[in-house]
Amino acid sequence: MNPQKVESTTVDNFKRPSQTKEIWRRFSKSKGAVIGFVLFSIIAIMLLAADFIVPYEAAIKQDFTQQLAAPSREHFFGTDGYGRDAFARLLHGGRTSLSIALLATFSSAVLGSALGAISGYFGGKVDSFIMRSLDIFMSVPDILFTMAVVYALGANFTNLLFALTLAYFTNYVRLVRSQVLNLAEQDYVEAARAGGSGSTRIILSHIIPNAVGVIIVNTTLNVAKIILYESTLSFLGLGMPPPQPEWGLMLSEAREFMRTAPWLMFFPSAAIVITAASINLMGDGLRDALDPHLKS
């Protein structure tokens, strides 16, 4: 064989033709997923560009001459009990809500996946210890546990993150553990061992990349759940400290003006529902795109 020729036919061409493309193709075939993606993109862009749309100042600037004003050209979504612009608060509050949700999702995914991987991979005593502890841990209803933690540590960004992480990591432990157990049974893992791969290499180059799809899907769907959960916590008075706007807190504040200024409740509700729904739509689309079973 002629190495020169080989170089020109394969090696130079060798790139990682991403599977992302294929996944994207399938993802974009699903109407729901595209709607979700577009919606979420709009939301994300608006939140990212919040500072350009309306400055943060407007979200915390109190103006008692404008207390509880109805939606108008000046205040698209009206004003709240402090005369603060509800539109600005919604935009900037979304940033808080979403960043907590994203961070909490991320940290719970990392913590849970690590524990799940350890449990699934090492098996035996480690596995039963982790799983039994988890059983006990999970028998305390999330909401009570999270509330106790937030009460104990005080309500602020970090503690909220911590509490949400603790409430959500358990999903991942089970998920990743079963993935690892399942993947470890695949012939290609055996093949890698037959080729002389060590455990580390197998985990890093075979098990993790294959488990990642499922984790990503789960993670996406979890973002929506956490947004809802977080708003519930806020509603119970365990959310972010004021004056920082946050959707759940806005709702919680709006509750007493339910009859005098119903729009204050309407817009954050809509924001939560639309965001959560759009993420769910994307998650479903992603799951279908990543799952070859549903192809036919």
């Binding site: 502890s133 305390v140 009570l144 509603f235 509750r255 529902v273 729904a277």
Partner: protein, 313 residues
């Protein structure tokens, strides 16, 4: 099978101990003490200390934990509320039943609405019966219970004056809270049932049933459904957790004397006996429900039943 059930019931013991430990640990990092909370700022520190000492509050954590467990195990005594001096059990039990009523009503609605719609959507995939409910479910699944609760309150009590806005007693009192907490899980159940059902309908044995000449109804109800419901049963069991979270909120909004809102309120007073006993009670309930789910599972699926009857000891 019964060996398995006993084994699972025995696992309640470490569960209770673990739950107690977790809650104790969390409470021990919470600032404040019951004495100060009860006696107020103007009380002398010495009095506060005496108050705490009388409660056995100042003991070191392990001893306190041990004493608690001992009392619980040996005397089935959960102690007295720091706040009301009532025996904890007397205080939490009626509220627990209230929450249970609400949560199970919620489970019932979530299941009885979600499952049939899910089945129908799967059977009539891509028809109006699928797309419309699926879309509705999509949005409903994204509603936090408290938003629903507030909206219901606004429309049904305030605007239409159809339903009572607070309290317990008649069936009407439970309509709004039960709906508020069960609609999101109902939507989840519907989505879950639908995909599970679609999966089941694809199976070979369903095709076999059709090939036998079974009518579509038989195929769906007799063959596909029982298999499709297996994962749904688990899902419903798990949704009890979601419902309990919803119940805390609903209890607040609709003024229902439930255990969730009780625990929330008592956290503010560091009323540990109530918080711990309440949490244990909910955990036991949760564990039992999960056990029930497994038993139902075994009941419906002979393969699982066989697995349990084979594991001896």
């Amino acid at each position: 099978m019964y060996r398995y059930v006993i084994k699972r019931l025995l696992f309640l013991i470490p569960t209770i101990l673990g739950v107690t430990l977790i809650i104790y640990a969390v409470m021990s990092i919470t600032p404040g003490d019951p004495g100060r909370a009860m006696l107020g700022t103007s009380a002398l520190q010495a009095d506060v200390d005496a108050y705490n000492a009388a409660l056995g509050y100042n003991l070191p954590f392990p001893i306190k934990y041990f004493n608690y467990v001992k009392a619980m195990v040996i005397d089935q005594d959960f102690g007295f509320s720091y706040l009301t001096k009532q025996p904890v059990f007397d205080e939490i039990w009626p509220r627990f039943l209230e929450t249970l009523k609400l949560a199970f009503l919620g489970v019932f609605i979530a299941a009885s609405v979600g499952i049939p719609f899910g089945i129908y959507a799967a059977v009539k995939q891509y028809s109006l019966w699928d797309t419309v409910p699926s879309l509705v479910a999509f949005f409903m699944a994204a509603f936090p219970s408290f938003v629903l609760g507030l909206l219901f309150l606004y429309f049904f009590s305030l605007k239409l004056n159809l339903l009572p806005s607070y309290g317990i007693g008649s069936f009407e009192h439970y309509i709004m809270p039960a709906l508020a907490i069960s609609i999101p899980p109902a939507a989840q159940n519907m989505r879950f049932t639908k995909s599970s059902m679609l999966e089941a309908i694809r199976q070979d044995y369903v095709r076999t049933a059709r090939a036998k000449g079974a009518a579509e109804r038989t195929v769906v109800w007799k063959h596909a459904l029982r298999n499709a419901l297996l994962p749904v049963v688990t899902q419903i069991g798990l949704s009890l957790g979601v419902l309990i979270a919803g119940a805390v909120v609903a209890e607040k909004i609709f003024s229902i004397p439930g255990i969730g809102s009780l625990i929330v309120d008592r956290i503010a007073y560091k009323d540990e006996p109530v918080i711990i006993a309440g949490t244990i009670l909910i955990s036991i309930c949760f564990t039992l429900v999960m056990l029930l789910v497994d038993i139902i599972y075994a009941f419906v699926d002979p393969r699982i039943r066989a697995k349990y009857s084979n594991t001896k000891g």
